[in-house]
Subunit: 360 residues, 2 copies
């Protein structure tokens, strides 16, 4: 990651540290480690002080860390993480108290307590707060992830034919994502017919029948950044009921998207979608209307009923209302949206959207 971007991030993190009177933060949550250092590997921690960002990794990743983290001091540890921190701690001038991220496990925290001589405390949401608004390099990465997902679904459509199983179709979509040089941002959901009424359905052996509807919820992860899209299709002519549900969900999504702009209240966006459905005889969904994403697939802000707070320019969020009728059908439509000063930019506009496919 470019030195200028990383320097700007480090300044933003340090502003949070100053605000919370933290002189040294041990960063253990993988997405936060990536954010603070640029490192895309695993099993590594970061230590952020007012003078330096350290990456604590091991020999498997030293080469990768040197390439990805030109702004960091890279420390190759051979033993446990807690010992590497203990060796580093005395060298950190003017650090009396070390703060550890609250997402750290009790086991790791206790090991640190035993190994490190300094006073330890915990704190939550330091780096998460700086991650709320994306910087330019992050927006570029999210746009790439969205465009790869869009392209991958386009290349999978011809594969949606009666007889294909949910598991096979999810595998073909994932293959297209890999072919485009990316990974999954989460395990792809493919649900046929009534299976789509379960928002977290796991793709199984069920084979597509001509009259089934199809729900696909998936995302690509590129250079560490996610995208998140849901689309619904039919191979046969859609039933009037499916068509009605699809139209209502589309209208609910459009109503919410229209409200997006810097300063918009999260609850107002959520209710725009919910109220569109509430006006019909269809059931209102139980999940949130959308969520932020970036290095992780679910990040703040969360758009839900009664949610507090406002949108800021530079946030990227999903809008994903749905209608679920157990035993019958499920329809959800989800797009990725960049919040701007004056409105919004839909990053997944090009993703195939028409419910009827021509492969019957």
């Amino acid at each position: 990651m470019n030195r200028e971007v990383m320097a700007k991030r480090a300044r933003a993190i340090r502003r949070q540290l100053t605000k919370k009177r933290i002189s040294c933060l041990i960063v253990t949550r993988p997405a936060n480690v990536t954010y603070a250092t640029g490192f895309l590997g695993d099993d590594s921690w970061a230590v952020v002080t007012h003078n330096q960002v350290y990456l604590l990794t091991d020999s498997r990743y030293t080469e990768q860390a040197q390439a990805e983290c030109p702004s960091c001091r890279i420390i190759e540890r051979a033993g446990p993480m807690a010992e590497a921190v203990a060796e580093l701690a005395p060298k950190l001038k003017s650090v009396r108290t070390i703060t550890v991220e609250k997402s750290t496990s009790v086991a790791d925290f206790e090991q640190l307590k035993r190994a490190v001589k300094a006073r330890l405390r915990t704190s939550a949401n330091i780096i998460e707060t700086t991650r709320l608004v994306k910087d330019e390099s992050e927006i570029v990465a999210v746009k790439s992830a969205a465009s790869i997902a869009t392209k991958a679904l386009g290349q999978t459509l011809s594969y949606i034919k009666p007889g294909v199983s949910e598991s096979e179709l999810s595998g073909m979509l994932d293959f297209q994502i890999r072919k485009l040089g990316a990974r999954n941002s989460f395990e792809t959901i493919v649900a046929f017919g009534a299976n789509a009424s379960r928002p977290h359905h796991q793709p199984g052996a069920k084979k597509l029948k001509k009259e089934d509807t199809i729900l696909i919820d998936f995302g690509a992860k590129y250079r560490g950044y996610c995208s998140d899209i849901t689309r619904c299709f039919t191979v046969g002519t859609p039933t009037p009921f499916f068509k009605k549900v699809f139209d209502v969900v589309e209208q609910a999504q459009a109503a919410a998207i229209k409200k997006i702009r810097a300063g918009a209240r999260l609850a107002e966006i959520d209710s725009a979608a919910r109220e569109t459905i509430a006006k019909t005889d269809l059931p209102v969904y139980g999940h949130g209307t959308g969520h932020g994403f970036g290095l992780e697939i679910h990040e703040s802000p969360f758009l839900k009923a009664g949610g507090k707070g406002k949108l800021e320019a530079g946030q990227v969020i999903t809008i994903e209302p749905g209608v679920y009728i157990p035993g019958k059908l499920g329809v959800r439509i989800e797009d990725d949206i960049l919040v701007t000063e004056t409105g919004r930019r839909i990053l997944t506009r090009g993703c195939p959207h028409s419910p009827l496919l021509a492969n019957a």
Copy 2:
């Protein structure tokens, strides 16, 4: 999961609870939740007492939990997990102290402390210890995972041709795994040429050249259980040096496998592989010789230099020595092995193994 199997597991867990004087264990680690309850979904905790196993889940998973966990009391929570535990706690007779798994985050532990009136403490490796030796239903699942991985690689071989990228080849292998109704047990590693010298290489845009060697490290996850295989191939005629390295690694693996039986010392198996390589002019690998696996891809026992302990019948382990020459090549061969009273059973014997492919 079948009631009899679950009852046996619950007895084994309770023997550990008695040993450590624990009357109630909050299980938060996902693999441990699956082990104690049979549940294969996410975002759920288990509570194990001497009378009952509770699964704390939410409405997204209630239907799945009812199907997968006939022996559990299923509690559908609407609010935070800590509150669900707080509501349950007073109903647990004779429970004065609640023990929480040490892998729990500090944030979750603090929330529990605030919400629950009982005394809280933490403990490590209670359920991990019972997971060390696999029961019959687990061995059946591991065998299925091994045979799916074996089949998937067989179906991917014809795809290994000059011009294919690492990322694309990994995607095709993952697709075959999905087509067989399984998932990945970890992100597939495909490394061409010198990339194979990095044991944790991430598949990239590099395209296969005729003279490149190929390393593939992958596994299938079926009904929650993993397999883990590494194979090396060439499309062109292997160079004499590659052939030499391949033969040495194969011999090292065979030497370690030969030592496997109930009662064998972990260190003795590790050194059998390491010494075979040390006798040559090739460098000895820095990683372990193998590891247990099951619900997770890396479990105890860990076979490494100086490792303490012995194998037990019913454990499943990998044996995976390698030779890595940075900038030049990497060869690792990994199989999955069931430890028996009198010896071993190789579960991945049928997986394609010859270095030369016929697709040049």
